[in-house]
């Protein structure tokens, strides 16, 4: 069966099965390997994408449910030479250890800051509550999101969006 969706601003038409998860489609059909599979059960947040403006566990979305959806993955934020301010902040705060959870963390941070540009630490923790870091490097990840909030406030507008 065929579905049409927009991924990182680009419209794609894809042949899928009901057993294809959005996660498989993004990684295997579109090569967007920034989307990670951790638990496969919606508990770890490594497969997080922004779907129709909301954080979504892509391992829990049957591909046909993504028909007509708008998806943003970490590849849609910045490039290696031109990082998104949130990605910059993760580098500067030293928030990355093994890195596996980071694409999901970055997207959760972005979704939070889109809605709430000046979050408190508590709000950051709540915003990231669906993402697990098994290196347990939460302190610096939270620092990174707070730092990103400051950066974005100085820039005034999110130009990489």
């Amino acid at each position: 069966m065929q579905i049409t969706l927009t991924v990182n601003g680009e419209q794609r038409e894809l042949e899928v099965t009901p057993y294809t998860r959005l996660l498989d489609l993004l990684r295997e059909d579109l090569g967007l390997t920034g989307v990670k599979e951790g638990c496969g059960k919606g508990e770890c947040g490594a497969c997080t994408v922004i779907m129709n403006g909301e954080l979504t566990a892509s391992c829990l979305v049957p591909a046909p449910q993504a028909d007509q959806a708008e998806i943003i993955t970490v590849e849609g934020l910045g490039t290696r030479d031109n990082l998104h301010p949130i990605q910059e902040s993760f580098v500067e705060a030293g928030a990355v250890q093994c890195g596996y959870c980071i694409p999901g963390m970055v997207l959760a941070g972005k979704r939070l800051l889109d809605e709430n540009p000046k979050p408190t630490e508590k709000e950051v923790r709540y915003g990231l509550s669906g993402n697990i870091c098994r290196c347990t490097g939460y302190a610096k990840i939270i620092d990174a999101v707070m730092l990103a909030a400051d950066k974005l406030a100085v820039e005034g507008s999110d130009s990489n969006d």
């Binding site: 069966m1 042949e15 947040g45 997080t48 566990a57 449910q65 669906g130 697990i132």
Partner: protein, 304 residues
């Protein structure tokens, strides 16, 4: 045959390019009901899929026929009709916690929705899915019982309204027939002052299946309680409404009640089991404490 490297995971994806005639994504309720009538218990109904895909991942069962309700926009509305709140079965937890109508009129339900899973789960999981999965630990279920909610079940034959407390029949079991779909949740509104409390006990703050939940909703005329709704989750084979305790509280002044005694009543009314989220004994003891805490919280809200 080449030996697979132990690190390489087999693709979970079945071969693409087949035309899947077993997957239905109807755009009208009528069409959905016709498919449901034709396939009955053979077909798996997909709402937000947050439970369905976990079960599928763990290969608890194979899904052959899918009835995906995601395109039924008619079921994604929250509206007031004749002093009742009508919530479409496909309304997500995120919608519930953000809706002004829900926050204002059903604060306990909004609070419970906010405690479901994680942001990633709340954006997909639905109220209808929570109800039809019928887990005793479903977070929205105790609040729905406390508010005296009813469920509208439709089939090609017509529709019927079932009270929440008559819907749940066992762990993951309910009284829905195999040709029916849950389309709406109906909750009466009131002009009386309504105050409530929601308490979820779990091992973490996020992404946790409840060890125990309590939803208390009290309606006041002046200082007198005129209606009480008390329900709990994860303490019996189904979410339970504690009508005996409600009856004790009606016509009383809240501050005249002995909270601790009511807590002990709660403990005596539930039937929890030992499982990996907590023991029977733990749940019984916590039940007393959460009841006292909930009533104190309502007392504070009423007096402020």
């Amino acid at each position: 045959m080449m030996r697979k490297s132990p690190m390489k995971q087999e693709s979970r994806q079945t071969i693409s390019g087949v035309d899947f005639k077993e997957y239905f994504q109807p755009e009208s309720i009528q069409k959905a009901l016709e498919i449901r009538a034709e396939y009955g218990d053979q077909i798996e109904v997909a709402a937000g899929s947050t439970d369905l895909l976990v079960a599928n991942y763990e290969k608890l069962h194979e899904i052959k026929y899918w009835l995906d309700l995601v395109k039924l926009d008619q079921l994604k509305k929250i509206e007031v009709i004749d002093n009742e709140l009508h919530i479409g079965a496909m309304v997500t937890h995120l919608q519930l916690m953000k809706s002004d109508l829900i926050k204002k009129n059903l604060a306990v339900l909004a609070a419970a929705a906010e405690d479901v899973g994680s942001p990633q789960i709340r954006s997909r999981g639905t109220i209808g899915g929570n109800i039809c999965t019928s887990s005793p630990a479903g977070d929205l279920l105790a609040p729905l019982l406390s508010y005296g909610a009813s469920f509208k079940l439709q089939s090609t034959e017509g529709e019927r309204i079932v009270k929440a407390e008559e819907f749940f029949t066992g762990p993951k079991r309910n009284s829905m027939e195999t040709d029916e779909l849950l389309t709406e949740i109906i909750i009466p509104l009131t002009d009386n002052k309504r105050e409530g409390s929601w308490i979820k006990v779990g091992r973490r703050k996020a992404l946790v299946i409840s060890t125990l939940t309590l939803a208390v909703v009290l309606e006041f005329e002046g200082e007198k309680i005129v209606k009480a709704g008390i329900a709990m989750g994860s303490v019996a084979p189904t979410p339970v409404r504690l009508k005996g305790i409600e009856a004790v509280m009606v016509d009383q002044k809240l501050t005249d009640l002995d909270y601790k005694a009511l807590g002990r009543e709660v403990k005596a009314s539930i039937n929890p089991i030992d499982d990996l989220r907590g023991t029977k004994e733990y749940r019984e003891d916590v039940a007393v404490d959460v009841m006292v805490r909930a009533l104190k919280e309502i007392e504070r809200k009423v007096s402020s």
